[in-house]
Structures are given as structure tokens and as C-alpha cells.
Symmetry: C2
Subunit: 274 residues, 2 copies
């Protein structure tokens, strides 16, 4: 390939990837079309190309294929039946356990101690943070790769609820906790649905320091969130309330957010204290 | 566009995006070529298309342009001068602060309490986890969009060190903590460097439950990590040690990992307790 061809190729490639990213929306309803082993393998290989801290791959991915487990997981994730119906279900784990095993079983811990070089350090919240970064970076790599393969996807943040039961269901070890979860499949039908709105650039990007968004900025930033604004009508207020009321009642003070907070506290404590 | 054209277009698009993902490597040295406002704007718009929980955009991005701040940040992030030299420096914040402001200043908290619908709930670790997911998902969206625009990128996990100073430098509020950081720029020269190896699919993906990798599995999973294996020779062991020794001494028990753990503890505590 000569330089001009390469440049042309790159430019074409560029735009198409940007278009894929810009056209992406969450898919919650899947067709019966099976995902072939070949496609799955391309998806997995692309996922693993995600950058990872120190190239340590501080994550693992549990592919849930057992139908009973899928159904149990659907219940544990705020009762969302679409999870049990999804052709592909991946739980992304922040994983320091494999390195703890490797350090100990290889003799590295003992050698360092005998040579007076280092004392054992149990993983803490810093490791947890770094492992979470690795796992979630890999997840979004998977989302875009899937999109490029024609597969729809949806994040299931609810996987951080009911930690004790999720832990038991997935046989988690101390230094493995759910970072996020994804479901994939071919979209149920050609879905020509409007893209969900996003906040304007100026409301997310700030220069040199954090500038607290207040009432005016937030009202402007979320002015386009029509779908959520329509739901405002269902609030039990005389004058129907505002977008802030909707998010406050239906999200922030909801039972599932309370559970996420309880569950994550147990999760982080388990990582640190066992 | 008719169906065949659309299909052809999709298939071509697919492969090119997958190729971009598979060819991506971290870039730590940048050319002087400036990033135009137009390119920057395309990058930002693509970044914001990242999926976010409940479409709440639970993150903010601080673009550090002030050269003195860049240099200070470079020092705080384990003294990496490449940060100060990078044309674009973005700190991704998990951000619940803007919603706390919105809930309070809009009157949503008061209305809910007066109507007997909900009592105020301060953000906890569950919110932190969910906000981190949002921020890191957006970061990897930015990485792939950048790649498609010819821009190289590198994650700086070290942004979670020295929290007290980073907080002061970036004027962080209680419910805003660093989730990750990225630097971008055009690569210093056409870099035909070998891709860093990744673990085999079978060592990252597990079926239905977590299966602890032990010595044998870890040795096989990281057998291809040549670059790190070459560094093993620099260890102060007679027989030069193993890959596990390298990672244990140079990463796990390093000063920067200890600092990450101390710093993240302060960070999470601040979010919960102020």
C-alpha cells in the first residue's frame, strides 16, 4: 500500500468508526438470529485488545451461558427479563485475585521477603480502582466492536446490586468484584428509533478545573432529555414536577439505588477485609 | 441508500472499526502537529455519545490546557513528563456533584420530603461505582474515536495518586473524583512498533462462573509478555527471577502502587464522609 492509498484508507476508516460511535444506541430487545462462533471469536479478540494497566489484564469476563443462571442474574439485576433473553451475557470482573495467586504460588512473595526487598501487600482500594478501570475499558471496547459486527448491546449497571448473591452465583473470589455487565445480540428488528439526546459539549467539558454546574447549567444541559421529561408527567405532583424531580424520585431515591449503595459497600469491604 | 449498498457499507465499516481496535497501541510521544479545533470538536462529540446510566451523564471531563497545571499534574502522576508534553490532557471525573446540586437547588429534595415521598439520600459507594462506570466508558469511547481521527492516546492510571493535591489542583467538589485520565496527540513519527501481546481468549473469558487462575494458568496466560520478561533480567536475584517476580517487585509492591492505595482510600472516604 503506498502512502496515498494508506491515507485515503485511513480517512475513510476514520469517518466510518466515528459514525458507528455516533449512531450507537442501547439495544434491549434481540432477534433469534444466533451469533456464530466466528463472530463471537472476533468480538472476544477485539475486546482483549483494550489497553490495560501495565499490561497486567486486571480483569476477567464471565460469559453466562447457563439458562438458569441467566434467569437468576436477571432477577438479581433489578428483575430485567431482557437479560435472560439476551444471546450473550458478559459480566466484567475487576480481578486482582489471579495476580495474588500468581505472586504467592510462583514464590515471588517468598523470594522478595527472603531477599529483604519487599513485604507482602494485600490488595487495597487503589488496586480495586485500577482493576475497575481495566475492566470497564475492556467493556466499552467490546461495545464498539460489537456495534461494528452488527450486534447491539446494553450495559447492566444493576450487576452491582445484591452482591452476596451475585458472588455466590458466579463463585467470585475475594479480589474479584463486578465492574460492569453487558448483554449483546442482533437487534430485534431494524430499529429506526431516534438517538437518545446527550448533553452539549460545554456542559461536560470544563477547562483546567472543576466548575460546579448549578441549577441554570443543569437545566440547560438536560433540556433535550425529552424522553425523561415526558415521564415527568407520571409524578405525583400537582404541577407535574421537573426533570430534577423525575430523576430524584425515580432514580436517586429509588429502591434499586439504595440497594446499589448497600451492596457496593459490602463489595468494597469484602475486597479489603475479606 | 438501497439495502445492498447499506449492507456493503456496513460490512466494510465493520472490518475497518475492528481493525482500528485491533491495531491500537498506547502512544507516549507526540509530534508538534497541532490538533485543530474541528478535530477536537469531532472527538468531543463522539466521546459524549458514550452510553451512560439512565442517560444522567454521571461524569465530567476536565481539559487541562494551562501549561503550569499540566506540569504539576505530570509530577503528581508519578512524575511522567510526557503528560506535560501532550497536546491534549483530559481528566475523567466520576461526577455526582452536579446532580446533588440540581436535586437541591431545583427544590426536588424539598418537594419530595414535603409530599412524604422520599427523604434525602447522600451519594454513597454505589453512586461512586456507577459514576466511575460512566466516566470510564466515556474514556474508552474517546480512545477509539481518537484512533479513528489519527490521534494516539495513553491512559494515565496514576491520576488516582496524591488525591489531596489533585483535588486542590483541579478544584474538585465532594462528589467528583478522578475515574481515569487520558493524554492525546499525533504520534511522534510513524511508529511501526510491534503490538504489545495480550493474554489468550481462554485466559480472560470464563464460562458461567469465576475459575481462579493458578500458577499454571497464569504462566501460560502471560507467556507472550516478552517486553516485561526481558525486564526480569534487571531483578536483583541470582537466577534473574520470573515474570511474577518482575510484576511483584516493580508494580505490586512499588511506591506508586502503595500511594495509589493510600490515595484512593482518602478519595473514597471523602466521597462518603466529606
Amino acid at each position: 500500500m503506498d502512502v496515498d492509498t494508506a491515507l485515503l484508507y485511513t480517512q475513510r476508516t476514520m469517518n466510518q468508526t466515528i459514525e458507528i460511535i455516533k449512531a450507537r444506541r442501547s439495544i434491549r430487545s434481540f432477534s433469534d438470529r444466533p451469533v456464530t462462533e466466528e463472530t463471537l471469536s472476533v468480538l472476544k479478540e477485539a475486546t482483549l485488545r483494550a489497553p490495560t494497566a501495565g499490561n497486567m489484564a486486571l480483569y476477567s469476563i464471565i460469559e453466562v451461558v447457563d439458562q438458569q443462571k441467566k434467569e437468576r442474574l436477571a432477577l438479581l439485576c433489578d428483575d430485567q427479563p431482557m437479560i435472560a433473553k439476551a444471546p450473550i451475557v458478559w459480566v466484567f470482573l475487576a480481578d486482582m485475585q489471579k495476580w495474588v495467586n500468581y505472586f504467592n504460588e510462583s514464590g515471588a512473595v517468598r523470594r522478595a521477603e527472603e531477599a529483604g526487598l519487599a513485604l507482602y501487600r494485600a490488595p487495597g482500594l487503589g488496586d480495586l480502582h485500577l482493576c475497575m478501570q481495566d475492566a470497564i475499558i475492556a467493556a466499552q471496547n467490546a461495545v464498539i466492536a460489537a456495534e461494528a459486527l452488527g450486534l447491539g448491546s446494553c450495559y447492566i449497571g444493576d450487576v452491582i446490586e445484591n452482591f452476596e448473591e451475585v458472588r455466590s452465583l458466579l463463585n467470585l473470589a475475594q479480589y474479584t468484584i463486578p465492574a460492569t455487565m453487558l448483554i449483546f445480540g442482533y437487534p430485534a428488528q431494524a430499529q429506526h428509533v431516534k438517538l437518545t439526546p446527550r448533553c452539549p459539549i460545554s456542559s461536560i467539558f470544563m477547562t483546567d478545573e472543576y466548575q460546579q454546574p448549578h441549577l441554570k447549567e443543569m437545566s440547560e444541559a438536560f433540556a433535550a432529555h425529552e424522553e425523561q421529561r415526558r415521564r415527568v408527567r407520571s409524578l405525583p405532583y400537582d404541577n407535574s414536577g421537573t426533570l430534577a424531580d423525575y430523576y430524584y424520585l425515580r432514580k436517586h431515591t429509588s429502591a434499586f439505588m439504595k440497594e446499589m449503595n448497600r451492596s457496593t459497600e459490602v463489595m468494597f469491604d469484602w475486597w479489603v477485609n475479606g
